[in-house]
């Protein structure tokens, strides 16, 4: 409940990141979502990722639309600006904010209703624009606030709480993203924080739009037998395609001296990003190549046809050029340019007037 002030607990034993901040410093107001909602686990993963990356709390901007998922931007990083805009329109608001200030970390949180129905167009064009934004879709297959209607991500045959099957084919954000040029596509599960945190970290650092589809069950309207977005179904059909670890630039050890303590497999591949950070993939599937768009697309189709929910950091384009690279804008945030640099002045105007004689 938002009117209950969340106690700020500081215990000397709380672990601090390099900014001297604890995980508590990355929390927000108390969640008003249903107990057990997958979205709260995503919030926890976001807090963990932001803390681990040691993002200065005020240097992030949290962007959202409308819906249960969009509420969650209030539940983390209360020292960041947040913008809970209109239904399905987070991508355009984030695009404008990013255009004005390229230096902030943009975290967009949306849902399957917000992004795949009313906001499908905005999602697609934000992907094409490739603005530097972490775009999380908390995907539960239903509209929660309006009490359980199917969303566009509901699978064929998935049953509503009343037992009515969905008979329209689903829109899969990962396949959609791949087909329209997304430079970072991942799928996680709110119930697997270990997998989700590195994906979010990599997504935040990705220079472009990182599309992260998170299966995040709705405990109230879509967690029953017959639903394909329930905790039980997701756990059973979850298949990790590739395991990813994010290595910040300062931590990166060149491959020659590679330490793969946390990923105990010979099948390790490092993909180095522009900023020097590295995404370290461990191939769960034999020859999975997370930089081969067509192969990833084919793999997803194949596994989905087999009834599985493939997850992981599925695709990344190490050559990603973001909005500002494409627009060719200056390094300094546009909003912060001094007026003297923006206004050409009276002399220039006088000269210009001669063109209109």
């Amino acid at each position: 409940m938002t009117y209950i002030a969340k106690p700020r607990v500081f215990h000397p034993s709380l672990e601090k990141n390099e900014l001297g901040l604890t995980r508590r410093d990355y929390e927000g107001v108390m969640s008003t979502l249903c107990a057990g909602c997958g979205h709260d686990s995503v919030t926890a993963a976001l807090i963990e990722a932001a803390w681990e990356l040691a993002i200065p709390t005020h240097r992030a901007a949290k962007m959202s639309g409308i819906g249960c998922s969009s509420k969650t931007t209030a539940y983390f990083m209360s020292e960041s600006h947040g913008f809970n805009s209109v239904h399905g329109r987070m991508p355009s608001v984030a695009s404008g904010a990013n255009a004005a200030n390229r230096d902030l970390v943009y975290i967009g949180v949306s849902g399957d209703g917000d992004s795949l129905s009313i906001g499908l167009g905005q999602l697609c064009h934000a992907v094409r624009r490739n603005l530097n934004l972490l775009y999380i879709i908390e995907n539960n297959g239903v509209y929660g606030l309006t009490k359980g209607q199917f969303s566009a991500s509901a699978d064929m045959g998935s049953k509503s709480k009343r037992g009515v099957p969905n008979e329209q084919p689903p829109i899969d954000p990962a396949l959609l993203g791949l087909s329209i040029g997304a430079t970072f596509v991942a799928r996680g599960f709110s119930g697997d924080k270990d997998q989700l945190v590195p994906i979010i970290k990599a997504g935040i650092r990705h220079p472009g739009l990182a599309l992260v589809d998170v299966i995040s069950p709705c405990v109230t309207f879509n967690d029953h037998v017959g639903s394909t977005k329930s905790y039980a179904y997701t756990r059973e059909h979850f298949r990790e395609a590739v395991e990813a670890a994010f290595v910040a630039p300062k931590d990166f050890v060149p491959p020659a001296d590679e330490i793969t303590a946390d990923i105990a497999s010979a099948e390790v591949r490092d993909v180095r990003m522009h900023d020097g950070s590295v995404i370290r993939f461990r191939q769960v599937e034999g020859d999975y190549d997370a930089t081969d768009r067509d192969a990833v697309y084919g793999y997803l189709r194949e596994r989905q046809n087999a009834g599985e929910v493939p997850t992981g950091l599925l695709y990344v384009d190490p050559e990603s050029r973001d909005l500002h690279d494409v627009l060719g804008t200056v390094d300094r945030p546009l909003w912060d340019l001094p007026f003297e640099e923006l206004c050409p002045g009276s002399e220039a105007l006088d000269a210009l007037m001669e063109n209109y004689r």
Binding site: A94, G96, A97
Partner: protein, 610 residues
């Protein structure tokens, strides 16, 4: 000795679109301007790329009245498809210049019209090679014929062609001037030149420029320091962003890197264009979008968000004929109410109404200042006539002392001095809260939402907390009445009646007032509304007159409705003269309408032609 009507006539050129007549028509218009004579040019064009009729109307008036007139003295008819219509539109005693390479049907002849046949196509086929060249040169050739008939200054024409083509395109310059000569010589040899309607050099445009409103508004955005523009292509506003893009390419480039100090985003639709503009305004940039009425319709949900979340942003609405797709290439003032109250729930928006490109430049700078001072969307309502046609207006000037009014923005230093920052708290009692720029300081962080919020920025569903904020916003917007440009008021002694108008109607209404005083001894006061919410003078003007006639270009008397709703003036003091068929307003229609409302003439407004 030359006699006749010097510097007082209207001509119209009828062609087929896609044949390159625009450059010829522009040349005529610019030549007259360079001769120092007040002139206007109106492009009456179809929503089509090639093959449909299009007209260019030029009015020359030495006393400066260059509003559109439907009374054409001379028509250049280059499109056989519209011969009948063009001949019909000539005043008795007028002239029709046509291409006599093909015979004109006798049935089209009209006794009181003089037909001037010039074998334009025939001459161009003989002189030039290539189909496209011949078509283009035919247009230039009629310009030559007009030069002889109207006594245009050939040195001026030559000079303009030289500026256009320069030495690098010498062959084009020669070809164009040859075409001019063809028409000029034929007219001189075959007709009595000049006609009684003719030009004579003046010195009335020395301090003026020839510019369209969209270009002027774009230049205003550059000078105001706008750095983010978002848009979706739509007639008639596209050229505003095109001009902004072109200016930024010259004036906003970082020397060392060649990179841009502006972000121009072509969005997927108007909804996204509005969202981008709002996102950028929220993040601290001066941001704008340009659209037309159809786009505003799509943006209305977002406009409500910007109003309630108090995000500064600027919307240019270059109005065209509605409703729905309407007539995309014709002008109207049909979005007055739409913009004033755009979005669901209780909303009211600041609107500025420029009359011409000079005010487009001035008001676009003003719009950003007002948007940031009052933390709200501001609309600049131009229209197709202002936005896309070239107008003769005074040269723009810039005060280098100008600094943007960013309004109440707290930076890290200011935040350090206060205990707690609350985004929506009315600290100063003027309805305007303080804002912060995202990323500047942890203390300034707040949560922006379009859902119910308290003055402390927290989510609420509490009736009192909700009302407190929405009432404060109402006060804020009402206070903006003092910040918008005040009405332009012109008073005559003992005038009992007032004429009220806005925007591009200005020229026609002022001409009508002068003519009615000169011809009928009727004295009328004049008020041109330039901003909304209405400045205090507006109500005073209405109360001071027995009857006020509101002249505007829409069916439903939208300005009159707004005056009725937003001033204490009684309804009985207001009546309307309305023209909304898509062509710019003319004094003839204003005179007929006003006399009708005052019971002075048998002729009704509806009885007067197009």
């Amino acid at each position: 000795m030359k006699t006749g009507r010097v510097n007082d006539f209207a001509l119209k050129i009828g062609t087929v679109n896609g044949t390159g007549s625009a450059s010829a028509n522009g040349l005529i218009m610019q030549s007259i301007f360079r001769m120092g004579v007040p002139v206007s040019g109106k492009n009456v064009f179809p929503s089509n790329i090639q093959g449909l009729p299009t007209w260019y109307e030029i009015r020359v008036n030495g006393t400066g009245h260059v509003a559109r007139t439907p009374d054409f003295d001379l028509i250049v008819a280059m499109n056989p498809e519209t011969y009948a219509q063009d001949i019909e539109e000539l005043v008795p005693g007028g002239w029709l210049l046509y291409d006599s390479s093909w015979p004109m049907a006798d049935t089209l002849r009209r006794e009181e019209v003089t037909f001037l046949g010039v074998p334009l196509a025939e001459m161009c086929v003989k002189t030039f090679d290539g189909g496209r060249t011949r078509i283009l040169m035919k247009n230039i050739a009629y310009t030559g014929a007009l030069a002889a008939l109207l006594d245009m200054d050939m040195d001026v024409i030559r000079g303009l062609l030289e500026e256009t083509f320069g030495e690098r395109k010498r062959h084009l310059l020669d070809a164009n001037f040859e075409a001019i000569r063809l028409g000029y010589d034929y007219a001189t040899e075959n007709f009595e030149c000049p006609l009684p309607i003719r030009l004579e050099g003046m010195d009335a445009t020395r301090d003026s420029i020839l510019i369209d409103g969209n270009t002027a508004a774009a230049l205003g955005c550059v000078y105001a320091g706008a750095t983010v523009a978002a848009w979706y292509p739509i007639t008639p506003s596209t050229s505003l962003v095109d001009a902004f893009t072109a200016y930024c390419g010259r004036l906003r480039v970082e020397d060392e890197t060649g990179r841009s100090k502006a972000a121009i985003l072509q969005a997927e639709d108007e909804l996204a264009a509005a969202g981008i503009t709002i996102g950028a305004g929220w993040a601290g940039a001066r941001a704008f979008t340009a659209t037309s009425g159809a786009g505003i319709s799509l943006m209305t949900e977002f406009i409500g968000l910007a109003y309630y979340a108090e995000v500064p942003c600027v919307f240019f609405d270059v109005e065209r004929v509605g409703p729905s797709t309407g007539m995309p290439t014709r002008t109207q003032q049909g979005d007055i109410l739409l913009c004033a109250y755009a979005s669901h729930g209780d909303t009211k928006h600041v609107c500025l109404y420029p009359k011409d490109p000079a005010e487009c430049f001035e008001f676009s700078v003003k719009a950003f200042d007002v948007a940031e001072r009052f933390q709200t969307p501001v609309f600049v309502l131009s229209d197709l006539d202002i936005g896309m046609n070239d107008w003769v207006v005074p040269r723009f000037e810039w005060d280098d002392e100008y600094r943007p009014d960013r309004g109440k923005v707290l930076d890290a230093e200011a935040l350090a001095e206060i205990e707690t920052f609350y985004r929506y708290l009315d600290v100063d009692g003027d309805g305007i809260p303080y804002r912060t720029i995202p990323g500047e300081d942890p203390k300034g962080a707040y949560f922006t939402r379009g859902s119910g919020h308290t003055k402390y920025g927290k989510y609420t569903e509490d009736p009192d907390e909700y009302q407190e904020v929405i009432d404060r916003i109402a006060v804020k917007i009402d206070n903006a009445a003092e910040a918008v440009p005040p009405p332009e008021i012109r008073s005559r002694p003992d005038a009992r009646y007032g004429l009220i108008t806005l925007g591009a109607c200005d020229g026609a209404v002022r001409e009508a007032i002068e003519r009615m005083e000169a011809e009928d001894g009727l004295r009328l006061d004049y008020m041109r509304i330039r901003g909304f919410p209405f400045a205090p003078e507006v109500a005073g003007f209405i109360e001071a007159h027995d009857l006020n006639i509101v002249i505007e270009q829409n069916r439903d008397a939208q300005l009159k409705s707004l005056l009725t709703l937003e001033t204490p003036a009684s309804k009985e003091r207001l009546t309307s003269v309305l023209r909304y068929g898509g062509l710019p307003l003319s004094a003839r229609h204003v005179i007929a309408g006003v006399k009708d409302r005052l019971g002075l003439a048998a002729e009704t407004a509806e009885g007067v032609g197009t």
